[in-house]
């Protein structure tokens, strides 16, 4: 894929967002390229994730384990999980070459459980492999209050 439009990238990321809201986690795992990390840092200004404490720092093995945990039915917080609705907007491709691109977007997620709703706002950066359709190489989620007082989260951003 040599040139990719923002609309094509948005369509892929909205597809991913829909999978996450509908808990289509097995299919979501299939969106990933080999390697890479799903990261939610505590310090949203840093990028040396391996040497920082993160909220999530998942390689392929941890992503698989996390999905297994959310789906197996033994995690009380995920059985049932909070329902979520997310909106993804403000797409901007910040870097692109023959094999991939970096895209950032704003995301809002509202969850519902126990009759109460909670809201999260975040900037998300994806590094996408574009050699054969789209695959996710890395996804970094910077919550607006990443170093503040959060609440437990039993689904994926």
């Amino acid at each position: 894929m040599t040139s990719v439009t923002t609309a094509e990238v948005a369509e892929f990321l909205w597809y991913e967002a829909d999978l996450l809201d509908t808990k289509g986690y097995d299919e979501w795992l299939g969106l990933w390229a080999e390697g890479g990390h799903y990261v939610i840092p505590v310090d949203k200004t840093g990028d040396d994730f391996a040497n920082m404490l993160n909220i999530a720092y998942d390689d392929a093995e941890m992503r698989k384990m996390r999905v297994d945990r959310l789906q197996a039915g033994f995690s009380i917080s995920a059985a049932p999980p909070a329902e979520s609705v997310r909106t993804l907007s403000r797409f901007r491709i910040t870097q692109a070459d023959e094999t991939g691109l970096t895209v950032t977007a704003a995301q809002h997620v509202i969850e519902d459980k126990f009759g109460r709703q909670r809201m999260f706002a975040m900037n998300v950066t994806w590094v996408l492999d574009t050699t054969d359709g789209f695959k996710i190489r890395d996804k970094v989620i910077r919550l607006l209050n990443s170093d503040g007082m959060l609440t437990s989260i039993s689904y994926l951003f």
Partner: protein, 423 residues
């Protein structure tokens, strides 16, 4: 409220009984206000770790109960814990979570305070009469004492020395700090999350082994067989919980990991093979073993009344916000100046279980919220903490010692709660 003003049902000895506590313990806002005065307004409260304020001018924001404080280090490296409230018209003088500074300045009228809280400068000072005494208007200072790097503060200038309050917990704290593997212990980062629950629901949980195989089944399933085995304490018969006095207690889950300086010579767990191999480039085998065993953490949870815990391999700090809301911090610790690979592994292990998206904490948060939601039902039903009663032995300290799943630690905390609330 004095004891005389309390209705009989709301007196501490009615709320806390040997085998149970009463529902208002989780539900009554007036009782919460009393706790903030009598417990968090008087006891030694954990406010930070020395590695969080390492240098001259270092500071961090913290809390003593519902009160905002600043932990600071002055130019002579002295530690101070200051109420974050301008003495003029009460604005906070600092809203930066941590950093370095030479002073704190109120944003409202510019009153400036030193790192020790002393009032240094007042703009337009001529508006105050000659008898205005700056020395009487410094930031309010709490008493501060430290033990093994942990910083505690109290509003009670007459409180017993910290070391006396920690008492029988002291040797366990020293054992816990062996996770520094000779490098010293350093805070690596923290997870923070709040839960709609009373603070004592978290206080109870730190020495609750009974919930572990139930609530944390999905975490256990994510471990390899060997690691899973290390969490089999509910099925083993060598763990225990003991009352350490003053509300403190310890739950020993993995007796073979009490003292990290005692190398059992067993092969290192397979999950640490890569780490051990990396370390062998720089360290001899004894040191490799010491570091790897330290990375695996201690085998016990030490609960310190009222707000701190040294839990396996991290600090768990709770903060009461209101009768129905509690903030929790899971502070990751590692080796100060220790091998990068070892500290990375410490952080990965911490991320695996702890924090808002760990494989363990969200399930804890869920059941704690369920406890709070359930306690809205019929307040005549009591909260039972009688597991292990009648089966306990007496420890070397002359205090109750129960099996691993006994609710001995909860009874220890509630006994202290009662004692302090009766004062």
């Amino acid at each position: 409220m004095s004891l005389d003003d309390m209705t009989p049902a709301m007196r501490p000895d009615a709320l806390v009984q040997p085998d149970r506590v009463k529902t208002p313990m989780y539900e009554d806002p007036a009782l919460f206000d009393e706790e903030m005065k009598k417990i968090f307004g008087k006891s030694w409260v954990w406010v930070g770790h020395e590695s969080e304020v390492p240098d001259k001018g270092s500071f961090k924001l913290s809390w003593v109960g519902t009160q905002p404080v600043i932990v600071s280090r002055d130019r002579k490296l002295g530690l101070h814990v200051l109420v974050n409230r301008c003495r003029h018209r009460s604005a906070t003088v600092c809203e930066v979570k941590k950093g370095k500074t030479s002073s704190f300045q109120c944003p409202y009228h510019g009153w400036g305070y030193g790192l020790d809280g002393s009032l240094r400068a007042i703009p337009y000072a001529e508006g105050y009469a000659a008898d205005f005494d700056k020395s009487q208007h410094g930031l309010v200072r709490l008493r501060v004492e430290t033990f093994e790097g942990m910083i505690f503060a109290t509003f009670d200038q007459d409180a017993e020395p910290l070391v006396d309050f920690l008492g029988n917990a002291k040797p366990w704290i020293k054992l816990f700090m062996k996770q520094g593997a000779g490098f010293g212990v350093k805070v690596l980062g923290e997870h923070q999350f709040k839960v709609p629950m009373n603070w004592k629901i978290q206080l109870e949980n730190t020495t609750d082994a009974y919930h572990f195989p139930i609530v944390h089944k999905s975490f256990l399933q994510s471990l390899d067989g060997e690691a899973n085995e290390s969490f089999s304490f509910m099925d083993d018969d060598d763990g225990w919980v003991e009352d350490l006095g003053n509300g403190h207690s310890v739950m020993v889950m993995m007796p073979e990991q009490i003292d990290l300086d005692v190398d059992d010579g067993q092969p290192l767990p397979e999950r640490f093979n890569d780490l051990a191999e990396t370390l062998r480039a720089d360290y001899d085998e004894a040191q490799v073993r010491r570091i790897v065993r330290a990375v695996a953490g201690c085998g016990f949870n030490l609960n310190l009344f009222p707000n701190a815990a040294c839990s396996l391999s991290f600090f768990r700090i709770l903060r009461p916000v209101s009768v129905h809301e509690t903030e929790i911090r899971h502070i990751a610790i590692g080796m100060d100046g220790g091998p990068v690979a070892a500290n990375q592994m410490r952080m990965r292990l911490h991320e695996h279980f702890q924090g808002p998206m760990g494989f363990g904490s969200p399930d804890d948060a869920e059941v704690w919220e369920r406890v709070q939601r359930g306690s809205a039902g019929d307040e005549r039903i009591d909260v039972m903490v009688n597991r292990g009663l009648g089966l306990e032995e007496t420890s070397e300290n002359g205090l109750p010692k129960g099996d691993i799943s006994a609710e001995t630690g909860m009874r220890a905390a509630y006994a202290q709660w009662k004692k302090v609330m009766e004062q």
